[in-house]
Each structure stands twice: as structure tokens, then as C-alpha cells.
Symmetry: C2
DNA sequence: ATAACATATGAACAGTTATTCAGATGTTCA
DNA sequence: TGAACATCTGAATAACTGTTCATATGTTAT
């Protein structure tokens, strides 16, 4: 309903009010965009990217991942928690060992698109 | 060539050496994964996500974006620079005004996949 | 029950980053 | 040339985040 542009805090005169109003109408809900940024924030760490990339190929336990990435167990465990909170991985316990695996089919395609971008721009 | 697992720094005994070796072989090059994380790092900020989301719908100048997002011009300018360095946006100057637009077709599909993930998990 | 092992967790520290502020640069027009 | 405006930039600050360390939890086997 309220399509009025608030120019108080941007210290600019608005140049193209029509464009701004149109875009404002067409954009997704603010909340969704914040959630999206939060998702990318989770993906925006090399340790977590490497963990996910590993889990694309096999279910793995914490120690295996730590050995693979040459990092200590605690660091991996902390990051797995972050990934789990974002529902990107899930786990199952088998005795002492906890196995982690992917909990999302879309991450793979997000990664693939990202890699295409990278490979095109260098 | 060197598929030996370095377990020195992970303070774990390796449980499934076969799995670790297989995954190590199948994973993309380390460097690509770091680049990928860097890309997601750029996408992992709500201001930048909102800017890109706006640019999906129209080319816009800095002032317009600032007004749309209700932020000051300097903050937007700083973020546009980050987006440009990652080749996600490009710009053209028309007199005093600088117009920004998307410089990547893949970002849209990365966003779409991300939104699917978000919408499924709540 | 206790030792051994895999994993999880909380606190602390170091490094990174987004925004703000002040001012610089570049362009247009009178 | 100088005023007005759009944009850019560097420094400073405040907030956030990843890793490490020490320790806790949970499971198995003796």
C-alpha cells in the first residue's frame, strides 16, 4: 500500500521515482531477502564450503572430515552445527560415531552455478 | 599423487581411511572451493542481496538504490564496489549519473535455488 | 565402574567487515 | 569559473565470526 519513497536518510534527491516504485513493487519481501543473505552467509566460509563439497560424495563422520580438511575436530564440529542449524546437513549416530550427510538437494545446484560464475570470470 | 592423509593436526584417529581417500580424490580443487566461498561471502550480506535483487528488475543509479533501500549513498557505493569487484554488477556513466546493472546471468538462478531452500525449510 | 574414544560445547582471542563521517573527484550548466 | 549535484574514497568505529583451548557429554568394551 505504502509505495512512498523515504528519502530522508539517503541524502539524495530521487532521480527516477518511477523506476524506484516499480522495483519496490516487484522485489521479494524484505524478510525473504534477509533469509537469503543468511543462507549465503553460511555458505560464505571456506571450511563450510569444503565440508559440503565433501558430503556431496559421501556420508562422513566428524573425524574423517577433520582429517580430510586437516583441521582439528572441534573446529569441524562447530561448523557442522552451523550447517545443521541451516538445515544443510543432517546427522545420525551409530555408537560413538556421528555421521553427517547432506540435507538439501538444492545446495549442489547452487554450488554448480557458483562455479560456473567463477570459471567464466577469470 | 599424494593421497596420504595427514592426521597430525586433527587429533583424531582416522576411522574410514578409504572414504576419506575417495572423497579427497573426487573433490574439486581446493582453490576453486576457496573462490566459491568468496563468492558466497559477497552474497552473504543483506544490503548486497537487496541491491542485486533490485537490479534483477531494472538498471538503477546509486541514488535510486539508496532511496529504495533507505540507506545513505555512501554505504551503497561501498557495496556496489564490492559487487563490481566480484563481477556481479557492471556500470555505465551518463553525465553525472552512474547506472548499475547485473553482469551475471547465473546469480538469478543461484538466488532462486536459495529461495527454494528457504521456503522448504520452515 | 572405569578407561578409551568420538563428539559437543562455552569462553576467549584475533581477524574481518559494514556503516558512518568527512571530504575528494568528476560532470553539468549558468 | 564556480555552484550544484552524483558519486567515490579513506579512516574510524562497532559488531560479528572462525578457530583454539579446555572441558563436558555420551557411548562402547573390558
Amino acid at each position: 500500500m505504502d509505495k512512498k519513497i523515504n528519502a530522508d536518510s539517503c541524502n539524495c534527491t530521487i532521480i527516477h521515482e518511477d523506476v524506484v516504485n516499480k522495483v519496490k513493487k516487484d522485489m521479494p519481501k524484505e524478510e525473504k531477502l534477509y533469509d537469503l543473505a543468511d543462507l549465503f552467509k553460511v555458505l560464505g566460509d571456506s571450511t563450510r564450503v569444503r565440508i559440503l563439497s565433501a558430503l556431496f560424495h559421501a556420508e562422513m563422520c566428524v573425524c574423517d572430515i577433520a582429517a580430510l580438511l586437516n583441521m582439528n575436530q572441534s573446529a569441524i564440529s562447530h561448523q557442522l552445527r552451523v550447517l545443521k542449524q541451516s538445515r544443510l546437513v543432517k546427522n545420525r549416530r551409530d555408537g560413538k560415531v556421528v555421521y553427517y550427510s547432506l540435507d538439501d538437494e538444492h545446495v549442489k545446484s547452487i554450488f554448480d552455478q557458483g562455479l560456473i560464475h567463477i570459471n567464466e570470470k577469470d
